[in-house]
Amino acid sequence: MLISCELTIDIEQPDFDASLVVQTNLNNHEPLLLFLSQDYYILDRALENYSDGNGLSGADISVFENGEFIGLMENYPFNNSLQGGTIDGFYSLECRPQSGSTYRFEMEKEGFTKAIGETKIPLETFQYEIEEINESINEWGGTDYRIELSIDDPEGPNYYEVEVMQHTFQPVFDDFENVVAFLPITQGVYIRSENIVIPEYQYDRLLFKDELFDGKSFRFNFSADFYLENSLKEEYGLTEDSHVVVKIRSCSEEYFNYYNTAALQNWNDGDPLVEPVPIFTNVQNGFGLVGSYFERVDTIFTY
């Protein structure tokens, strides 16, 4: 009976024209970097290969700062240390974005309609302080760190992202279990909000808007779950310090909308009881994000 109820069908789709897909997050720490790819018809087998993102090289990408042309982006050979090799589709321009400035990207590639995206780097106006860090033993015997931030939120809609990262090392052993090197590693730390409800996003980040505390000072509490590994220095003789850092970003609206909707789509993929989530884009004639943030980084532990 089940087999009799299954039918392979051809969907009458209008002729599919691929569009350009852009992803860039401008910020105050780094020169411009952009990833360019394309979308594929949903039944295209190219979608089965996840490894390199199917980036597009050879595109002309013009960059405008506050309406003035500042240069063409160049192919950037991005080395993927996890899988080895260079990944196509990255472009860079040696220009450090300025807070409050607007950047427009015009992307042209043969066979595609020209795509345009624009973002404004958030102003450097938000203030915050790390007020308090408390340690407690959680129900699994690990250590929880409860961190309280005080955010002075400027009036108007503002968007924030908090991320905690651990920069440490991994010992490399020889055949005789002697440490021969230390490999630097960076890993995200699992964090969760303690005093405001924030939708699921990524395990090491909290993304929220200021609708509950617009224009006011707000104490934001969150918990972080990480382990300060002392044996690296004591047992293996590591001489360099490891760090736990908190990154606090004031994000552009499009950054907030894109990552929120993308996370929601991923989170609910395959759930028949949930309506599919469309992903926000601010790219004309294409998909993806031209977003930005202003970031501050604080080291909260050195060990």
């Binding site: 599919f16 897909v21 910020n27 979608l47 996840y50 309506e275 998909f287 994000l289």
Partner: protein, 793 residues
Amino acid sequence: MIVIAFHLNLTYLRCFFLASMLLGFLAASAQKHTISGYVTDASNGETLIGATVLDKRSGQGAITNPFGFFSLSLSADSVTLSVSYVGFQTHISTFLLQENTTYSVELASSSFLKEVVVTATEQIEQTAQMSSIDLDVNKIKALPALMGEQDVLKSIQLLPGIQSGTEGSSGVYVRGGGPDQNLILLDGVPVYNASHLFGFFSVFNPDAINKVSVIKGGFPARYGGRLSSVIDISMKEGNKKELSGSGSIGLISSKLTLEGPIKNENTSFILSGRRTYIDLLARPIIKAASEGDEIAGYYFYDFNGKLTHRFSDKDKVYLSFYSGDDKAYARSKYDYVNEGDTYQYVDEFDLGWGNVITAARWNHVFAPKLFSNVTATYSSYRFRTGVEFEETITGSNIDETRREIFEYRSGINDLALKLDLDYLPSPNHSIKFGAMGIRHEFNPGVSAFEVSQEIDTTLGGSKVYANEFSLYVEDDVSISKQLRFNIGAHQSFFQVNGKSYSSFQPRLSARLLLPGSVALKASYAEMTQFIHLLTNGGIGLPTDLWVPATDKVRPQESWQIASGLAKSFQGYEFSVEGYYKEMSQLIEYEEGTSYFNTNDQWDDKVVSGNGKSYGIEIFAQKKTGRFSGWAGYTWSRTTRQFDGLNFGREFPYKFDRRHDVSIVGIYDLNDKWGLSSTWVYGTGNAITMAQSAYFSLSENISRDSPWLYFQQQKNYGQRNSFRMRSYHRLDLSLTRTKEKGNTSRTFSFGAYNVYNRKNPFFIDQSYDNQGNRKFIQYSLFPIIPFVKWGVEF
């Protein structure tokens, strides 16, 4: 423009209404006498609702109300009273009317006429009411049905302007409204979840039902509380003449109904029960296959009962009761012995939902022109699901049990009191007015988790209590033979958690009789609904949750205008209607949210928005003769717009259906054989499907990133922008009836989806036999034959 005019001229509307009331009282003061009484079926004493009582000399008439009562005020003179009801012999008597007279009539069935599929006992062009259809339950029972299980709500889906949801579902979508916007009344009591078996069957057992009325627009003021339709179902009162009954055995269920008088004709009862037995048939098979370690099953039952007592011509009391439950369950156990210790594991799962409905009604005739009905009701819907795991270890040194229980409950309970009064000052004028109060108790989802009595956690919303009050008055008045109005107003109030809402809802229906007895009708209605249904996919799952309007989520509101032409002649009836409806404060789950996110308050998970629907409905029916049936066609367009969905852009409603066709035919070949058939066609449902996909980086791009991880993101385009294939299906049924003495036996067989159309249920991506990525469409029901045996005695 018409609507704006109404809004601006609300004051004038009120003045007009008061003036028409005054006219009524003035008319009442003329020197007339009143004939009042009841019209019933001579064979069993059952009330005939909507029978016509007509004085042939003056041409004045009246229609019996839902309790079979009529009142007709005429000048003191000789009257020739004709009492008629489709399918019954007309009763005519002549007498001199000199004083107020009580006149009750029993009509004899005209079995040889074999009349009527759909009855509109008052000719369609006579009444001001539009967008309304009455269904004869006997004919509902004659239609072919899924697995032979005739269903009231699925028969309603065959009418124009009323659509089914997904395949097989008993959900009803009226003029672009949602499934929660239908006021489904069983003997005047709202039914909150009208579905069995995840929506494949409705809770109404046709054997216990007398009449079904559906109103899609031009709502009379006596109805309120829902936006899109009123489905008013009246239970039988029970045979007052003799003990009788009926029963049937079908593929999935059996039914038994008993009815009869108690002591004398003044008291009658009806008891009707139905139960499925898939679980009983499958249990030994499952048990044998699992060597006794597993039990699983599903069943539903419902039970209807009604007691009617007539104290006098002036007083009648009705007690009615309904209880129905669905239950799915599974239990498995597993044990083993290790080093002398016995380990036993037991898993249990159960899922259940059901309604309990009770009503006590008292009819009292204060005066021949004033009829009253007082109704006290209780309606309860509850849903529960639970999972239990138990581990027991027993041995020489150990005796330990660990238990984990998860339970989820939700529901709604209503207590209501209602007073309805019919004042009938003249044949051209009837006034209905009344009041109602409801005490709602909402239980919007509670999860409980328990581990070996050590942790006992309860999550989710707490109970919410709300009060709803309403007042109404409506006036049906004939200004002339050509012009007739039904004008009224419904005022309602709602209180919840310290928040109050009130709503004034004007209603107007008008009929202008054109030359050739063609009726031109128009109506305007505003409706307010203080409760919402949280539903995933709108497919009528028992998990759907009724919730009240709150300070965050406002009541739903709508206004609708409709206009059309109607004409009947020689047993045929035709109507064409156009309508335009706007709805506001509708709710939907936020994108990416579902019922299963139980940690949040429900009103944090929803967004509100607006809806719009317009269309044209064409309806033609043949009411008499051996062949009867109807054909309905609807062209409609329905959209939604939510600021929080689809980036604020308007999108088609899931059940936006451009074309909808239903053709129903019932043919009595001879006294023994009957053939019935339905064919339906509908534009495919609107769904959201990915059109393309791309890869994106899950992390912020940085030159320092040690590695990159790409994830696939889908481009869904606009919400509900894709259309599934169209839906069409033919059902057939052949019935043989054999009568012997007072007993009638029927044997029916037929098939659902006769030509085995693979209608779309959902679409998924998969691979074909060559390994190419393809869309695969899944259907629910192929051709499904049925067979059924029934008896009436």
